[in-house]
């Protein structure tokens, strides 16, 4: 087990190094590079810029700069926001709750609905339900998330007036119910694509398990079909889904960014977009790195959980 953990951990570290190299390259592609903030100031002459570059060490070889940047990243110095001068990590910290709330609730919806559709599709293979679910999933994967959000707002906020069109809560009303009311539409919109993905994988995984010997054994022993399904089949089919949840993280973050924009949700996605609008590159970079690190961590945790839950993997 510890060998597996160490191996998996080292892989993640290597991946982090590669991710940081990609990130550093993007940073240096930004107009004005890391100096963009000062270049925009009309009171700044090119002589000043040169002097600042020397002071900040930007005239050093690119490799030295990279190690310096990465080292500061490791120590938690992610730079300061151009907009208000506060540290990037604290800016991200202020927005992370909203995003995690949205991602969490939509993941719960996606897993619950996707699992149900997947299992039903597998047990009622080639039924009308299965066909509709298959085609529906492919269409759902083709609908732009933001457009689905716009249509949702049009129907449920403007025409029917059932749900709020945006924001996380009504100002002056911070009750849990109010949050929940605001959460419904964005999380369903964000969940749609993942319901589609989840149900497809769940169907395949269930079909894989259903045809295995231990399921036949359970049936032969006279275990009621419902119990076979819930205990033997679903339990085992859900295992590979843990890995999938880790792999899906970047795509959920992508969806969250778009959904947050449509619903003026005060999370990391909106922060990313606002920062881009202000050319606040330290925050943009910070979010880019932060999301990649989150993904790598998510995959690592998913793999460890699978190893813990599944006794068969322990030797690997």
């Amino acid at each position: 087990m510890s060998a597996f953990l160490l191996n998996r951990f080292l892989q993640s570290v290597v991946l982090l190094v590669i991710v940081s190299i990609i990130g550093f390259t993007v940073l240096n592609l930004m107009p004005g590079g890391p100096m963009a903030q000062y270049g925009l100031d009309p009171g700044m002459t090119s002589d000043d810029l040169e002097r600042l570059k020397e002071q900040l060490g930007l005239n050093r070889p690119i490799l030295v700069q990279y190690f310096d940047w990465a080292w500061r990243l490791l120590q938690g110095d992610w730079g300061t926001s151009f907009r208000d001068g506060s540290p990037v990590l604290s800016v991200i910290g202020r927005h992370i709750f909203a995003t995690l709330l949205l991602m969490g609730s939509s993941t719960v919806i996606a897993i619950a609905v996707g699992t149900w559709i997947g299992i039903r599709g597998a047990t009622h293979r080639y039924s009308a339900f299965d066909y509709v679910a298959t085609i529906g999933a492919m269409v759902a994967l083709s609908i732009p998330t933001f457009w689905f959000g716009l249509v949702g707002i049009y129907i449920f906020s403007l025409e029917l007036g059932w749900l709020p069109a945006g924001n996380m809560y009504t100002i002056g009303d911070g009750s849990a119910l109010n949050y929940l009311h605001h959460l419904i539409m964005p999380s369903v919109v964000l969940a749609l694509v993942h319901i589609a993905i989840w149900s497809r994988y769940m169907r395949t995984a269930t079909l894989d398990v259903i045809s295995q010997e231990f399921v036949k054994t359970a049936r032969a022993k006279g275990v009621p079909e419902r119990r076979v399904l819930m205990k033997h089949v679903v339990g085992n089919a859900l295992l590979p889904m843990i890995t999938l949840a880790g792999v899906q993280l970047p795509s959920i973050l992508t969806g969250a960014l778009v959904t947050e924009t449509v619903f003026t949700w005060p999370g990391m996605g909106r922060l990313f977009l606002d920062s881009l609008g202000y050319s606040d590159f330290p925050v943009v970079m910070g979010l880019l790195m932060f999301s990649a690190i989150l993904t790598i961590l998510g995959n690592l945790i998913a793999d460890i959980v699978v190893a813990l839950v599944d006794p068969r993997i322990r030797l690997a």
Binding site: V14, L15, I18, V19, I21, I22, V26, L29, M30, P31, I135, M138, V139, L141, S142, I143, P144, T145, F146, W147, L150, V151, I153, Y154, L158, R200, Y201, P250, S251, L253, T254, L257, V258, T261, V262, F272, L273, L276, S279, F281, V284, M285, L287, L288, S291, A292, T295, I296
Partner: protein
């Protein structure tokens, strides 16, 4: 003459088996019909309409669909939405298609080299693939489009940069499983160059998975273009694209919902067509992977 017959034999096999299976896939056929129709309309449509996509008519702002000759209505500047939709379709489909070609080329190249060479070359290439996959594609896309000036060509390249990894993974896995086969050993013993073995001997055997992945990549690329353009960082006005037609549509949602609804339907039709076709090709070519 003899070479001609030899060349024709596999061709007819291809036509009979794979084509028959594809043609019997109803959803894939539907996709093919939908996307051909849409492409045709986008190419021919602008010539048949009485309005130019850039013609501004402030007296006819916010006309709902089916007003006079404005079949799909007009936008906040009184421009004809049908004309804009078709012009936008040309851009969006072209961006999606070219991005697919670039992404497939890069992905195939990386996949073949990583799969065949193995060792540290493969390790570096495939970990780079993992690295790119760790970023949410839209974050990377937006950061890059802020960094590089967003001309249509640049947007296409940026979309390709965020979309080549799936192809690379699929090709790498296929090549790795093929490289120990007898025909490769035979090639090596004949003294064929490495490049010849990789690209002339092995690559043709991976065509099926590449075609499937490429089809799904078009779908993905059209969606990504819509995302960045909707957010205002993609194709820049006055050049219309399906994504940037939706940019700003939200503020008129209460008064002019067709502004938001119509381009979204076009995107969904185009993307689902490619997804349907990809699914049909996967069944027809018997490719066992999920492509994403």
């Amino acid at each position: 003459m003899t070479t001609l017959t030899v060349n024709q034999a596999p061709l007819s096999w291809w036509q009979s088996r794979v084509m028959r299976r594809f043609m019997s896939h109803r959803l894939a056929l539907l996709g093919l019909v939908m996307i051909s129709t849409l492409t045709l309309i986008c190419i021919v449509g602008p010539w048949l309409l009485p309005y130019d996509s850039l013609y501004i008519d402030l007296r006819a702002r916010f006309a709902p669909p089916m007003t006079g000759e404005h079949y799909l209505g007009t936008d906040p500047l009184g421009r004809d939405i049908a004309a804009r939709l078709f012009m936008a379709g040309r851009i969006s489909l072209l961006v999606g298609f070219i991005a697919m070609i670039l992404a497939t080329l890069v992905g195939t190249l990386v996949g073949v080299i990583a799969g065949y060479r193995g060792g540290w070359i493969s390790a570096v290439l495939m970990r780079t693939v993992d690295g790119f996959l760790s970023y949410p594609s839209i974050f990377l896309l937006l950061a890059l489009s802020a960094a590089l000036k967003p001309s249509p060509m640049m947007i296409t390249v940026i979309i390709a940069i965020t979309g080549w990894m799936e192809v690379a993974r699929i090709v790498e896995a296929e090549v790795r499983s093929l490289k120990e086969r007898e025909f490769v050993l035979a090639g090596r013993m004949l003294g064929l160059s490495r490049a010849h073995i990789m690209f002339r001997e092995i690559l043709p055997n991976v065509t099926g998975p590449i075609i499937v992945a490429a089809t799904l990549t078009v779908a993905r690329a059209i969606l990504l273009e819509a995302y960045v353009s909707f957010l205002g960082f993609g194709i820049q006005p006055p050049l219309p694209s399906w994504g940037n037609m939706l940019n700003g549509a939200q503020q008129y949602l209460a008064t002019a919902p067709w502004l938001a609804i119509i381009p979204g339907i076009a995107i969904t039709v185009a993307v689902s067509s490619f997804n349907f076709i990809g699914d049909g090709l996967r069944d027809a070519l018997d490719v066992r992977n999920d492509g994403g």
